[in-house]
């Protein structure tokens, strides 16, 4: 306070000016950087829509890839292959993920083991997908002797588990204690309370988490490179290599043929749309869920 009176009115004004200038500068910077970030996003989406829609046609959804040099062909087998691999991954990943989330929220709260599992889930979430791919290769593909849809499913399920675990735990944490106590008050055992009361109350949030994990797995390419491997033909056999949409996009994108580039754009558009639709559907579905789960 003693320094204030010594300051001349001029320097005081300069100081105030500098402060307000800095403030405005930061505001401009923040607004500018947000715009700068939105530009590539809009460019990517716009270009994808432009390129994708111009090369999408019915053949894309009904035909298998044409041989090199021939025009036409589609990615029907890749879409089906992706669906097969993702179904397998969900069948493994979702129950395990939800189970782990239930353990963290209902049994492991405040325990050393619970904290360790939670931490591991967060760390596994950051493991590069390509590393998961080689592990699945070494465990499943080498044992079987050939690439297979099954190995791809295993690799993707490993990618799904940590996300589902963490969302399930967070959503269960929002279920009020009173709801559980009401169940206990009726003499319902704990396992039944967890299944029919806690999980049910939190289900909209948990379903959203599962769909987000699903969407992330749907776009993964790296874990499938050495597991599902890709296939130019129809395949339903879990023990055989299978096509997948992201793999096919990758193969076509790095190829030297214009016709294949065109298909790669169409594939990318379909992939993005599938992901967007699944996420939006879940938003709507979860929005009017049974008890709204307090989230």
């Amino acid at each position: 306070m003693s320094a204030l009176p010594q300051r001349s009115p001029g320097s005081e004004r300069a100081l105030r000016l500098r402060r307000s200038l800095t403030d405005h500068l930061v505001t401009v910077l923040a607004v500018g950087s947000t715009i700068l970030v939105l530009v590539p996003l809009i460019l990517i989406l716009g270009y994808l829509l432009y390129k994708g829609t111009s090369s999408l046609n019915l053949d894309f959804f009904t035909k298998i890839p044409a041989p090199v040099g021939e025009s036409g062909g589609g990615m029907a087998n890749s879409i089906v292959g992706s669906a097969v691999v993702l179904t397998l991954a969900s069948l493994i990943g979702i129950p395990v993920g939800i189970g782990a989330g239930v353990y963290l929220s209902e049994y492991g709260r405040g325990r050393m083991l619970g904290n360790a599992i939670r931490f591991t889930a967060d760390v596994v979430n950051g493991v590069p997908s390509i590393v998961v791919g080689i592990s699945a290769y070494a465990v499943v593909v080498v044992k079987q002797g050939h690439f297979s849809a099954f190995a791809g499913g295993i690799a993707l399920s490993i990618m799904m588990v940590p996300t589902i675990t963490r969302t399930t735990e967070e959503m269960l944490a929002t279920v009020p204690l009173a709801v559980r106590e009401a169940a206990y008050g009726l003499g319902i055992p704990k396992w039944r309370t967890v299944l029919s009361v806690s999980l049910r109350t939190a289900s909209p949030g948990i379903i959203t988490g599962c769909m987000l994990a699903f969407a992330r797995a749907a776009g993964e390419t790296a874990p499938l490179l050495f597991t599902a491997f890709g296939n130019q033909f129809w395949s339903w056999d879990l023990r055989q290599p299978i096509a997948a949409l992201p793999l096919q996009i990758y193969t076509y994108a790095v190829s030297p043929y214009d016709e294949w580039h065109r298909l790669a754009w169409a594939g990318a558009l379909v992939l993005i749309l599938l992901i967007m639709i699944s996420v939006t559907l879940v938003r709507i579905f979860a929005g009017r869920g049974m008890l709204k789960g307090g989230n």
Partner: protein, 365 residues
Amino acid sequence: MDNPTQEIKPLVEPATAENAPLRLPKLVMSDVAQGTSEHLEPTRAAEPSEVRKFLNEKSSGRLADGSFAALMLVCGLSLFFIVGLILWVLVMNSRPSLHAFGFKFFTHSVWDPVSGEFGALPFIWGTLVSSLVALILAVPLALCTAIFLLEICPQKLRAPISFLTEFLAAIPSVVYGLWGVFVLVPFMRDTAGPFLEKTLGWTGLFAEPNFGVGMFTASVILAIMIFPVISSISRDVMRAVPVSQKEAVLALGATRWEMLRMGVLRNARIGIVGAVILGLGRALGETMAVTMVIGNHPDISKNLFAPGYTLASVIANEFTEATGDLYLSSLIEIGLALFLVTIVVNAIARLLVWAVTRGQSQRHA
């Protein structure tokens, strides 16, 4: 205001005073008189009620409880199992290369599958440089956007803009790669490249020849990809700062920037560092998009326009065509190195973020 209440009161009071004591016994009496008690009373004395019996039948108590808890525990432990399995598999399969090269594997700069010489230094260099340049590009933008969304943005725009920035995270890596190959690479070659060379060429970081594919293009793609992670987590961390802190600084006459600097950024700095490291972890392991634009050539060069190679992209490119045990195990050893590095980086980042947001309901990107 006074009149209606005065009028209502006399209406209400007689009603409760007269009816309530009369109705209550009536209701109870009628229930009992309808015979429910006569049917229930003897059974209740002999055995547990219908509800209790039903529950006992449907839930075999302790056994079910115990096995359910055990099942959930197994699911939880599966995460340890996953980490353990990955580690074990990688170590086991990289043994030939571990034996042949030892630690020299990571300091040797020649990668020649034909003559059987394997050194991972070019890939480590490529991974580090591309990730660091990506961080330099992404961090200021991400922090500015986080500040914008938290403090400056009008309420109406907040939801759509944060949805859009988060949508960047939902785009699959391979789609970024596709866009990179057909849009960003020509742009870098024809427009941005010559400009950078003219303005920053004196640093030696941007020099001819510029083919469009190379380290810098990969860094730009990486920056776009890690931006949502850094932005959304640092936003969570900043939101965790108590409002009273901000109000206290504002009450002292601070401008908005001074409030952000003293009240928010200083309190949240550990968590922001955590968010940045989390972004680094994502960048280190990113595979597809980088593989498609980095040029895939194992060189160590100061020039950012030169093609490079990263740990993840060498695995993606050469794994399926690797012939011979030593080649394959060298690639798996690279995977092992990548795994260990990302585990450590992520663990540090998580601990830092936890230190700030602990006690709050945590939201993750």
